[in-house]
């Protein structure tokens, strides 16, 4: 509850600062619209915003699911197979040195203007953070516990399922939290590369017509969705790994 009021207070402060800046610098609405103008757009254009937000939300959620599944599989593959560590490991890192922004137009070219290409862009944008966090957690399972399991007669696969994976869940949770915040951004980037619907598309559309207030409204919608998704995933991760001491207090 206290965190909720903290968020409200900092949001109110930011809006006040924004209003003050517009007022004092006497900025025209096509440079920086005042908070009131943006609020009015939320009211007048709520149907447009909803329609486009729905698309981006769907792309983000599907991209999150796909990217997380890929990241989890990659983490397990890296843990269990030395061949995967040798061949997949460098590829994972390499794929991260290519920015999502550069890949998005290519993926839109290959998969089309529909939501599929954005889902793939979002998945590519997040799978690495999921894979690397999860793999780290799998590797860092308590060596003493693994020794004891060996003496008890555990096989490699029960060691993985009964010790390494449960021990890695908190790390996986923090990876998924970061992924949840980033998935909507990646989906919007995908939309910039070519789309006919979605918040990213709406931003470009509004920008081109100097409807900066609508662009701001779309941007805020995207940001709020990202925050809410991040908070929900964080909450679920904390609930599922309540035994982990570090899961309690982080932003």
């Amino acid at each position: 509850m206290r965190r909720f009021t903290d968020v409200l207070v900092s949001a109110a402060g930011l809006i006040a600062l924004w209003a003050l800046l517009v007022e004092l610098a006497d900025l025209p609405p096509y440079m920086l619209p005042s908070p009131w103008r943006v609020a009015r757009v939320f009211w007048t254009d709520h149907a447009t915003l909803w329609l486009n937000a729905g698309m981006t939300i769907w792309e983000s959620l599907a991209g999150f699911a796909l990217g997380s599944a890929a990241g989890i599989s990659a983490g397990i593959a890296l843990m269990t197979s030395s061949l995967a560590r040798r061949w997949l490991g460098p590829f994972l890192v390499l794929s991260q040195s290519v920015p999502t922004f550069a890949l998005a137009p290519l993926i839109v070219l290959w998969l089309g203007f529909g939501p599929e290409s954005k889902i793939v862009v979002a998945a590519i944008g997040i799978y690495f953070v999921v894979a690397s966090n999860f793999y780290d957690g799998l590797r860092r399972a308590d060596p003493g516990l693994l020794d004891m399991a060996r003496v008890m007669g555990a096989s490699r696969s029960t060691e993985l399922w009964r010790i390494r994976i449960p021990a890695a869940l908190p790390a996986l949770g923090s990876g998924l939290k970061v992924a949840a915040a980033y998935a909507p951004i990646a989906a919007a980037v995908g939309e910039w590369a070519g789309a006919s619907k979605g918040l990213g598309y709406l931003m470009l559309y509004a920008n081109a017509r100097l409807k900066i207030d609508l662009m701001f409204a779309a941007l805020l919608t995207l940001a709020v969705f990202g925050l809410v998704f991040h908070a929900l995933v964080g909450w679920a991760a904390r609930r599922l790994t309540s035994w982990a001491p570090e899961a309690r207090q982080d932003p």
Binding site: D142, G144, L145, D147, M148, A149, R150, V151, M152, G153, A154, T158, E159, R162, I163, P166, A167, L169, T241, W243, A244, P245
Partner: protein, 259 residues
């Protein structure tokens, strides 16, 4: 007492060379008597844990040439239980599941009646559903003991199993473990001469040496364990073991000489 098969005698012979080429021990011949506690003392880093790991069939740093064997000829693997300084409880599992962890790891069906009776024996009947983080250090080590007993193995390898506990808790844990592990071959690595003086039927000191650590002559006790810490036998043993541990390492200047 339990009607258990007596644990076998154990022997570890061989050389271990560390990765940097230095020998950790050379022509070592360690023996544990069947069905009793053997304590292994020595400074930190002298190789006590390594010796236990070799007996337990675990990986060690360096190359080992030699063999770990049981006097009855059967392999040690599958007949030993492991207890370490930290309790090694899985933090995500409740106490009851932790006690049954060995069966789970072998994909066997846990004997829940036995789990509950062992938890009662270590005095944690009411904590079966609690997470390890809700327990004190002493309670957690008692869960670890219940898990070791659940394994029902004739051999117990204990690496500083009681070292992390406060003095009072440690004394109670030693008594409980001694009582519940009757008839098993127990090897306890420890740096506490007092612990060895209470529990051991035989106590060895592993003496550091640049040419490879070696075992000092074992201390022979006159009375059987578990000894009263104030008994003359325990006090004499404690003093003798401490004297052995205090000797300066070979190759180092003896105390008292001016630089």
């Amino acid at each position: 007492m339990r009607d258990l098969a007596r644990g076998p005698g154990l022997r570890l012979r061989g050389d271990l060379t560390l990765p940097e080429g230095r020998p950790l021990f050379r022509s070592l011949d360690f023996r544990a008597e069947p069905g009793v506690w053997t304590c292994l003392l020595g400074a930190s880093g002298v190789g006590k844990s390594t010796l236990l790991r070799l007996l337990g069939g675990l990986e060690v740093a360096g190359t080992f040439r030699g063999e770990a064997s049981a006097a009855d000829g059967a392999p040690i693997s599958g007949r030993a239980a492991w207890m370490a300084q930290s309790d090694l409880l899985a933090p995500w599992l409740p106490v009851r599941e932790n006690v049954a962890f060995g069966a789970r790891l072998r994909r066997e069906k846990p004997d829940w009646a036995r789990v509950d009776s062992l938890l009662a024996e270590v005095g944690l009947k009411d904590w079966a559903g609690a997470r390890p983080s809700a327990l004190s250090g002493g309670m957690r080590q008692r869960v670890a003991l219940a898990r070791t007993l659940m394994e029902d193995r004739p051999i117990a390898l204990m690496d500083e199993a009681f070292s992390a506990l406060d003095a009072g808790t440690r004394a109670r844990m030693q008594e409980l473990a001694f009582d519940l592990l009757q008839g098993r071959t127990v090897i306890l690595a420890t740096h506490d001469p007092g612990e060895a003086a209470r529990l051991a039927s035989r106590a060895y000191v592993l003496v550091p040496d640049p040419a490879g650590a070696r075992l000092a002559e074992p201390h022979r006790f006159r009375t059987p364990p578990l000894r009263d810490p104030a008994s003359p036998d325990a006090l004499a043993a404690q003093a003798a073991l401490l004297a052995e541990l205090r000797k300066p390492p070979v190759g180092e200047a003896p105390e008292g000489r001016a630089p």
